[in-house]
């Protein structure tokens, strides 16, 4: 089984993010692997270890993301593709999905594993759209993957009514959520080996995409006009001291001041 895993380099959400004049202030930002993509990588590596799968990752954009790809190598991914092209600067999820489609068509993959969403966009569209463009079956929000045979996998998905158990015919696309696994920390040996591994870097023309081609990267259908600061909540009243006294006080405030009890 050949697996393609998608990984995106995203801004570190744990750090402070400031907005000025409609844009995010670059100063002081750091970039890391998208958390859910780490789960996707771990899922792929587990399928390599348990089911002899071959693992390839692809990352689109992000500038120099050698460090991130090497981290995934150190976790156990065997091959890496980096698509980098200035034309992708304003790409949205459908554009990324169409580029991924070309990557998919160049390899002979059986399974694509993406993260459930990218932490910078919080959009949750790319993997599902990729499947739709390819005409492949897709399950999103997956928490478990079992290989049945060469042509089938069984996945569990967290849905609205409970956990759905779904049998998928390969090739297929799944998007994974964080409760699927605990991504491993790369070990020293893996880190050393990862340093020597090549990364296959290509631009859109190498993928056979012309910028003006509507099927390719052209014309995002959604465009961020401006960023705004989120409405931040103010810290309210904090009570310390005798538990009985402060708790009684807070309850009466919930009744009389906040009117919520």
């Amino acid at each position: 089984m050949k697996i393609l895993t998608t990984v995106k380099k995203v801004v570190d959400v744990e750090l402070t993010i400031r907005v000025q004049a409609g844009a995010i202030v670059e100063d002081g930002l750091q970039y890391v692997i998208n958390a859910w993509d780490e789960n996707a990588v771990e899922a792929a590596v587990q399928l390599k270890e348990n089911n002899n799968a071959e693992t390839t990752l692809v990352s689109i954009g992000g500038g120099d993301n050698t460090d991130m790809i090497r981290k995934c190598y150190a976790m156990g991914i065997e091959k890496g593709i980096h698509v980098e092209d200035p034309a992708l600067e304003k790409a949205d999820s459908p554009v990324f999905a169409r580029v991924l489609k070309k990557v998919f068509e160049k390899g002979d993959y059986d399974l694509v594993i993406t993260g459930k969403q990218a932490q910078d966009t919080d959009s949750g569209q790319t993997g599902i759209m990729l499947a739709e463009y390819l005409g492949l079956p897709c399950v999103s929000n997956v928490i478990d993957i079992q290989v049945l045979d060469d042509q089938h996998i069984k996945v569990s998905r967290l849905g609205d009514a409970g956990t759905e158990i779904i049998e998928l015919e390969l090739p297929a696309v799944v998007t994974v959520t964080d409760s699927i696994n605990e991504p491993r920390l790369p070990q020293m040996r893996g880190i050393m080996m990862a340093k020597k591994k090549p990364i296959d870097v290509m631009d859109l023309s190498a993928l056979g995409i012309s910028i003006d081609d509507a099927d390719g990267a052209a014309a995002p259908t959604s465009e961020i006009v401006e960023f705004m600061a989120s409405k931040t909540r103010e810290a309210g009243q904090k009570f310390e001291g005798d538990a009985a006294q402060i708790t009684a006080q807070v309850v009466s405030l919930l009744v009389d001041e906040a009117n919520v009890l």
């Binding site: 014309a219 959604s222 909540r233």
Partner: protein, 319 residues
């Protein structure tokens, strides 16, 4: 006049309030509205669909649609969208909506935006507002396509008073089953419990409650208040709480009148699921816990001491 198709949010055979909220918003921006309802044995919901404020009701009612499957579900929505000639298709915030919206967008060659909190017409363009980067920023997004599919974030729109609709039912033909993604089984969530999305009060436990004894202690408080009982990821990972109780970025987004965070530190991914709540109460023994930065009322103390007092005090005022 824009035509907006709202996808009915149906859970456990009932129509959720979000359907009315979305239709109210669509009506308030002067759109002609339709609703599409997908499921099995849902005839009884039709009057509710009308009363929710829709002008046309597309109904796909088939035994094969009893359990959610994204492919057939999306086909029904796309079918209704084509018949109605919808300019916009609005899903409520649900796992079904999140799974189906991108498919419908690709099928219709429409733009797609998820977790939106507002829609506006700006000149020739439609613009949406949405949070991004774990709610740390907001984005204003311009739609460069004739059609748009959106998923509306929980709690974004309010139901209008005294809305009415007109009954005009259109029956959709059942979609083909997805033979490449076969739903074998649905392991249903425990029934009879209050759905977090509907609850007026939500009480959540975090790692601070430690174990089952702690969980049970807080659960009694939730029971007293008929509150939804939720959790941080830590307690789900620990096996103490079910997946569907997780509040946060990868769990449920809730916006109740009152949210109580008991023994929860306030990680950004948790906040992203609850910081739209009207009032937040936090109980934490660490005065520096980040949850206090968003809490309207903070009690610094040991929850094992505070929660029983909280129960007793609330009982007193309710008596």
């Amino acid at each position: 006049m824009a035509k907006i198709l709202v996808v009915a949010d149906i859970k456990n055979d009932a129509l959720k309030d979000s359907t009315t909220e979305l239709l109210s918003k669509a009506g308030s921006i002067g759109a002609e509205t339709a609703v599409v309802a997908i499921g099995s044995n849902i005839e009884a919901l039709i009057s509710g669909l009308v009363n929710a404020g829709s002008d046309t009701q597309y109904v796909a009612d088939d035994p094969a649609l009893a359990i959610f499957s994204a492919g057939p579900y999306a086909s029904c929505v796309a079918d209704a969208a084509k018949q109605f000639e919808a300019d916009q298709i609005w899903f409520s915030f649900s796992e079904s909506g999140k799974a189906a919206a991108p498919r419908v967008a690709v099928q219709l060659e429409a733009a797609c935006a998820t977790e939106i909190t507002d829609v506006a017409i700006s000149g020739e363009h439609v613009e949406v507002t949405r949070p991004a980067i774990a709610n740390k920023v907001m984005q204003r997004v311009r739609i460069n396509a004739g059609q748009m599919v959106v998923v509306v974030r929980a709690g974004a729109f309010e139901a209008a008073e005294g809305i009415t609709g007109t009954e005009n039912v259109v029956t959709l033909s059942p979609p083909a089953v997805d033979v490449k993604a076969v739903v074998k089984e649905l392991i249903s969530d425990a029934s009879g419990e209050i759905d977090l999305a509907d609850a007026d009060i939500v009480i959540s436990v975090g790692r601070g409650v430690k174990d089952q004894t702690g969980v049970d202690l807080v659960k009694e408080l939730a029971h007293d208040l008929k509150a939804g009982f939720g959790s941080s990821r830590a307690m789900v990972d620990g096996g103490f709480m079910a997946h569907n109780k997780q509040v946060g970025q990868t769990g449920k987004i809730v916006a109740p009148s009152l949210y109580m965070a008991i023994g929860i530190s306030g990680a950004i991914q948790h906040l992203a699921g609850m910081n739209g709540s009207k009032v937040i109460l936090a109980v934490n023994k660490d005065p520096e816990a980040p949850i206090f930065n968003v809490a309207d009322y903070g009690i610094v103390g040991d929850l094992f001491e505070v929660v029983p007092i909280l129960r007793a005090e609330i009982k007193k005022i309710r008596a």
